[in-house]
Symmetry: C2
Subunit: 251 residues, 2 copies
Amino acid sequence: MSVSKNDIKFVQSLRLKKFRQKYNNFIAEGEKIAGEALLSSRCKVVRVFALPEWLHENAAQLSPIQASAITEAGENDLAKLSGLSTPNKVLMVLEVPQAGELPLIHTALYLDDVQDPGNLGAILRIADWFAVPQVFCSPGSVDVYNPKVVQASMGAFLRVDSQEIELETLLRRQPELPVLGAVLDGENLFTTPLPSSGLLIVGNESKGIRPATQQLLSHRIAIPKAPGGGAESLNAAVATGIITACWINRV
Amino acid sequence: MSVSKNDIKFVQSLRLKKFRQKYNNFIAEGEKIAGEALLSSRCKVVRVFALPEWLHENAAQLSPIQASAITEAGENDLAKLSGLSTPNKVLMVLEVPQAGELPLIHTALYLDDVQDPGNLGAILRIADWFAVPQVFCSPGSVDVYNPKVVQASMGAFLRVDSQEIELETLLRRQPELPVLGAVLDGENLFTTPLPSSGLLIVGNESKGIRPATQQLLSHRIAIPKAPGGGAESLNAAVATGIITACWINRV
């Protein structure tokens, strides 16, 4: 089967959240992510578009996939399908996993209007590395299945549970859950006692944690700026990495 | 003075390293960065292109700048001048600062072929926050004056000293300088003793620290992955943030 105009139209439409929601599908590109997706049970593989050589090399892993879902593509086809400036040898359409029953939270991250896809991707990798099982997102955050998030996550979306949900919904269910967040006048992350479980709030890139959300914090922390340090803030993913690393390695 | 075709050609040319080197100039955009650049003595302001309202609001800070360097621009002009998808109210052309005499290193970062402009920008913010005064870059790293680096650094390029230099040149001058780097089989960052001064090597996004560079490490460290953690790696800027935060706060 070769790539049709409808295929291109369909895949390109998935760059928009509206169509990802309509079809419940999203795009994942590249050999590493595709290889992991084939091994994962988390996201059903809906379509595979790939160079003949890639299909040949990965025939064994592709055997459970219906033949009609696999399409041989040329480099020109992949360039049209892909939203990346450097298209890959393989592009997959995956099914957005069903949100299961809301889990009881032990440690999790909550993204309070994080906007940058690269940041969300890097944050999913942080959760994956430190075995934080869930990343929740406010309705105003960038969509986890945005193609740039998927790429930046390097496959972490296959292992970290993520869903869009209001913070209040989580806290109504677990009112005693510690809520941690970095604020300007917070306690020194390196010296203040941290709870052994909880929800770490990650604020928006330019505005930080929203005032309404700040009122819900039980642990106001700060990454101490060194004497003589000049920056107004750290990148959101960098700050999340520092806090998560210290938290998980101290408790 | 209004924006000429030559202005547009000149500013657009600065998106390329070749022309940044030829003219010794680079682009910085946005109100925050422009405001900081006007207050900083580090980079001479060569040209200012801005909306009339911005010029009016910032007349006092602009007074030391030659009138011939200031150009009123419309939104359409700024869209042509800017490489960003959302142009700002102001775009400046700044002079690349002269590399001063090579400083003696106390704590510094060395980027070993870091490629992503967003990562380099985030790393400059890390250095700025933790008062690490220098960020050195290998000749294979992305250029510090790439417009995307400048934007992602949020002005940190005005406070952190950065220059392109071979690692060997630094180590020939300070052969006893501790050299730290994250490698897969390194010692746990949170428990291993760290030197009070040194050079932290940041590896390439996909390949990590080059084998030749690894041989120069005196302290092989690792950010411990949590039991059950799945990611193969962390984002380069996130890893740099975690290591720098722990290092600076422990010594």
